[in-house]
């Protein structure tokens, strides 16, 4: 049961208030029509799915309804960093 710091509400809130929104940093291709079927399929379905630090999006569904990025270890479940959409994660461990 995670406790997640919402960067918009600026406080830690309980997991029940949030929804997971998948892997972060998968930008939509600028020109989908230029992609082959398999390149498009990769955008649609292929995920990093790492064992360890994972960059993912969460949304504060029951709170401010804003999206943000989280760097979370998928084994220890420790949250290593929380950072805004559109930014890259800070150096690991800086959380």
């Amino acid at each position: 049961m995670f406790r997640i710091h919402c960067p918009h509400c600026r406080e830690a809130r309980s997991e029940e208030e949030f929804s997971y929104a998948g892997e972060a940093h998968i930008p939509r291709p600028v020109d989908p029509s230029s992609l082959s079927d398999s390149e498009w399929g990769e955008y649609l379905h292929t995920r990093t799915n790492p064992r360890g630090p994972h960059r993912e999006m969460w949304v504060h569904t029951a709170g401010c309804r804003r999206y943000f990025n989280v760097l979370r270890d998928t084994v220890s479940y420790k949250i290593l960093a929380v950072y805004p959409v559109g930014e890259m994660p800070p150096e690991q461990g800086e959380a």
Binding site: M1, H45, R51, T74, V75
Partner: protein, 416 residues
């Protein structure tokens, strides 16, 4: 391999059970094998067994980083059924169910397959339409399926709350009588013992740390016990498929998530069929030992922690108490998690990869246990003939490029 039987038990009892032999050997790894199977769970061991038994390929090692059956084989709620919606999946699961029906005899190991019937409840008009669609499709595919009224459900499960006043009343159900449960550990052990007897090397406590490729073809696996050469490498390691794929430079359309389950304390028999409801999110059966075995949902996030969010347990038990108000006073003994590899269409990936000689069998999501023998059988066939078994063909990796997804979200049950 010594044949197990009642007579054998009596004979061994005379010698105080001091003469039982090992169920499988503990060999040192050879330098190389024809085929190395990564993952000593039910699917991997079944693959090894059928490779040896059906195809005569015995130069096989099963490499397991921990203990046999320690992944999802030993963590699931053991529901077995074949009433899937789409042709591709129903044929595969039905093939598997037929193997289950004779598996104890085939392996000479009692896997306690108990075809006590699987009920799938409908709570809304929409549910009932979907159930009817599935029941009809099942019948046409030669799979036993019945449509039950709420009254018939009540008769089958007296403790169930079938009141029309419930928040989501039971409107009816599908019943697959040939479905049921089995003893999960026994499946891994039975396949391991039988594969070992065919000459397969089972290497426990051997962790794969790398997959070696040369010129687009696999040459073997790096392990914690050194390099093991192989002409073919078959990865069957639920919960680790992505990690293994990355070792070969591949990415898969898979996300690994915790799936939770729980058991009550042992009770005298009070539930004779398996009950599934995706409407109120409740999957419950009663094990032979008496525990209520309850499947909870998957967590919404990726994780390899073999534990999940407590809210999932709360929601599951709300559903159980809603559906079985008498179980409210029963107590939860243990809950735990497994890691399931989920594909976008809730169907597995079975077959070749862009790396020659490297095969994957993964992505079974929440429903892999029931497929164990069938999955092993078709995967072994695919490995032996280096082309997809016809039943595995719809589940190739390239469907994610062509768009030919199989979409079993409805029938796969657990909401993803």
């Amino acid at each position: 391999m010594e044949r197990y039987s009642l007579l054998g038990l009596v004979r061994h009892a005379r010698h105080y059970h001091e003469n039982w032999q090992r169920v499988w050997r503990d060999p040192a790894p050879k330098k190389a094998y024809d085929t190395v199977i990564v993952g000593g769970g039910g699917h991997g061991l079944a693959t090894a067994y059928y490779l040896a038994k059906v195809h005569g390929v015995t130069d096989v090692a099963v490499v397991e980083k921990g203990w046999l059956g320690g992944g999802n084989t030993g963590r699931n709620t053991t529901i077995i059924r074949s009433n899937y919606l789409r042709d591709g999946s129903s044929h595969l699961y039905e093939f598997s169910l037929k193997l289950w029906e004779g598996l104890s005899q085939e392996l000479n190991f009692n896997v306690m397959f108990s075809p006590r019937g699987v009920l799938y409840l409908g709570h809304t008009l929409h549910d009932m339409r979907e159930i009817e669609r599935r029941v009809n499709a099942n019948r046409l595919n030669g799979i036993d399926a019945e449509l039950l009224s709420a009254a018939e459900v009540q008769k089958l499960v007296p403790l169930m709350n079938c009141s029309p006043d419930a928040r989501y009343p039971v409107l009816g159900a599908s019943l697959q009588r040939r479905g049921g449960i089995a003893r999960h550990d026994a499946v891994a052990w039975g396949f391991a013992r039988a594969a070992d007897a065919q000459g397969v090397d089972i290497l426990q406590r051997t962790e794969v740390t790398g997959i070696r490729c040369d010129n687009g073809a696999v040459t073997g696996v790096e392990t914690s016990r050194g390099f093991i050469g192989a002409r073919k490498v078959a990865c069957v390691a639920a919960g680790n498929s992505g990690v293994l794929a990355a070792m070969a430079g591949l990415k898969l359309p898979i996300e690994s998530r915790p799936l939770q389950a729980l058991v009550s304390e042992p009770l005298k028999p009070c539930l004779d069929v398996v009950v599934q409801s995706s409407g109120v999110h409740c999957y419950v059966s009663q094990a032979d030992k008496g525990d209520l075995v309850i499947g909870a949902g998957t967590d919404s996030y990726n994780g390899y922690g073999q534990r999940g969010s407590f809210s999932v347990i709360e929601h599951t038990l709300q559903a159980v108490c809603e559906l079985f108000p008498a179980f409210s006073r029963v107590r939860m003994n243990r809950h735990w998690g497994g890691i399931v590899d989920i594909c976008p269409d809730a169907c597995p990936i079975i077959g070749e990869t862009p790396v020659r000689g490297l095969y994957f069998n993964c992505g079974w999501g929440t429903g892999g246990f029931k497929a164990t023998p069938g999955s092993g059988y078709v995967f072994a066939d695919t490995l032996a003939h280096e082309r997809p078994h016809p039943l595995a063909a719809p589940f190739s990796l390239d469907r994610f490029a062509t768009g030919a997804l199989v979409d079993e979200h409805g029938a796969a049950g657990v909401a993803h």
